[in-house]
């Protein structure tokens, strides 16, 4: 839903990096998308070419990698991949009292530039 503004934030960040690291074109960009980040990879891929047009990311190949969710249970103390994303239940004891440790990320992993 907010993928357009996320790509816009991405363009700003990469344009700043381009000045600092001295490159003019991005050939490929790899993004890590957490399962619980609320970012839809398909939607991101759909708006990416439009939002990046005439920017440093124009024409760049977009590669996305899923970052699996991980939660830590306050009841049994174990870390696990949640049993169910909608419910956010501990994968071991099915308690709902969990803290999300991983899976909310939306980050740039690396770039191929020239």
């Amino acid at each position: 839903m907010h993928e357009v503004s996320l790509v816009a934030a991405l363009v700003d960040q990469i344009e700043e990096t381009a000045v600092a690291r001295n490159f003019r074109r991005v050939l490929e960009i790899r993004l890590g998308i957490g399962e619980l980040s609320g970012v839809d990879p398909e939607c991101l891929g759909f708006c990416f070419p439009e939002v990046t047009r005439s920017t440093i990311l124009d024409g760049a190949r977009l590669v996305t990698e899923t970052i699996p969710a991980e939660c830590v249970c306050r009841k049994c103390g174990k870390a696990s991949r949640p049993a169910d994303h909608a419910a956010l239940l501990c994968g071991h004891c099915l308690s709902g009292d969990v803290e999300i440790r991983r899976g909310r990320e939306f980050r740039v992993i690396d770039l191929d530039v020239d």
């Binding site: 839903m1 907010h2 357009v4 503004s5 996320l6 934030a9 991405l10 700003d12 960040q13 990096t17 690291r21 001295n22 490159f23 003019r24 050939l27 993004l31 619980l36 980040s37 609320g38 970012v39 994303h85 909608a86 419910a87 956010l88 239940l89 308690s95 709902g96 009292d97 999300i100 909310r104 990320e105 939306f106 980050r107 740039v108 992993i109 690396d110 770039l111 191929d112 530039v113 020239d114």
Partner: protein, 253 residues
């Protein structure tokens, strides 16, 4: 003349670079770049998170409690705030930042209710971000306020991803939206420190079950208190006002 970029200048920096010492070239714009990989490992919203952290420090320095109200459009945020402003008049210094894509209807309504309010229009964006809030700190958001309520753009998805620097996220859910929204939009309801069920005066007219709704909430959030109220009839409003006043007192000893 420089044989790499064709410029006329032969500076010391240029010479060193030609000798293979990788100093910054004097004329990078002229030099063809070789493809290379740059490691980033940086959050796309790093800038927002940094601004949010600055906001949070500012709020803490000024001992201001800041609530980020998030819900679907039409869940009753504005009516609840109208009633809140009226009930808190004279009891604490409060202001409202009202976010919407366009129009200032909410601000007009809240102003009529006596609120200090500023409308923030986000244009194409579906959420408020930390930068929009930061622009108001020290101007519209006066340092001597006790409470700042940020009425986010009506949306259950995006506002949950953008930290504004608030003290608490509060999720509102109206009875007309059905019982299962917390399961469908788990992140917001998981992170909320308080969940407010609104429009409970409509329950007799709906096929809506409080028990089922609470079940869906507890699946994603075992801790947050659940308040049930109707801003229209005033039922349950007292507990909401107490929540604002009590926590206020403990936050400002």
């Amino acid at each position: 003349m420089c044989r790499d970029c064709g410029c006329e200048e032969a500076s010391r920096e240029h010479e060193l670079w030609l000798k293979g010492r990788p100093l910054r070239p004097a004329h990078p714009e002229n030099i063809p770049m070789l493809p290379r990989r740059i490691l980033m490992e940086r959050a796309v919203l790093a800038k927002n998170d940094q601004l949010a952290a600055e906001n949070r420090r500012w709020f803490e320095t000024n001992k201001m409690r800041v609530l980020n109200l998030i819900s679907s459009p039409g869940s009753g945020k504005t009516l609840l705030l109208e009633k809140t402003v009226q009930q808190l008049a004279g009891k604490m210094k409060m202001a409202v930042l009202a976010g919407d894509q366009s129009q200032d209807y909410d601000a007009q309504r809240l102003k009529r209710a006596g609120a200090e309010v500023l409308q923030l229009n986000t244009g194409n964006s579906c959420h408020l971000d930390a930068g929009m809030i930061q622009k108001q700190l020290g101007s519209f958001v006066r340092p001597d306020l006790d409470l700042l309520v940020i009425e986010n753009v009506g949306n259950l998805v995006c506002p949950a991803a953008f930290d504004l620097g608030e003290s608490e996220k509060i999720a509102l859910l109206s009875t007309t939206e059905g019982e299962d929204k917390p399961s469908k939009y788990p992140l917001l309801f998981h992170e909320a420190s308080l969940i407010v069920l609104t429009k409970i005066d409509l329950i007799p007219h709906l096929d809506w079950s409080l028990e089922l709704c609470e079940k869906h909430i507890r699946k994603v959030n075992v801790r947050a208190p659940i308040l049930k109220l109707s801003a229209r009839t005033g039922e349950g409003l007292g507990a909401w006002i107490d929540f604002l006043l009590t926590r206020q007192a403990s936050a400002r000893p």
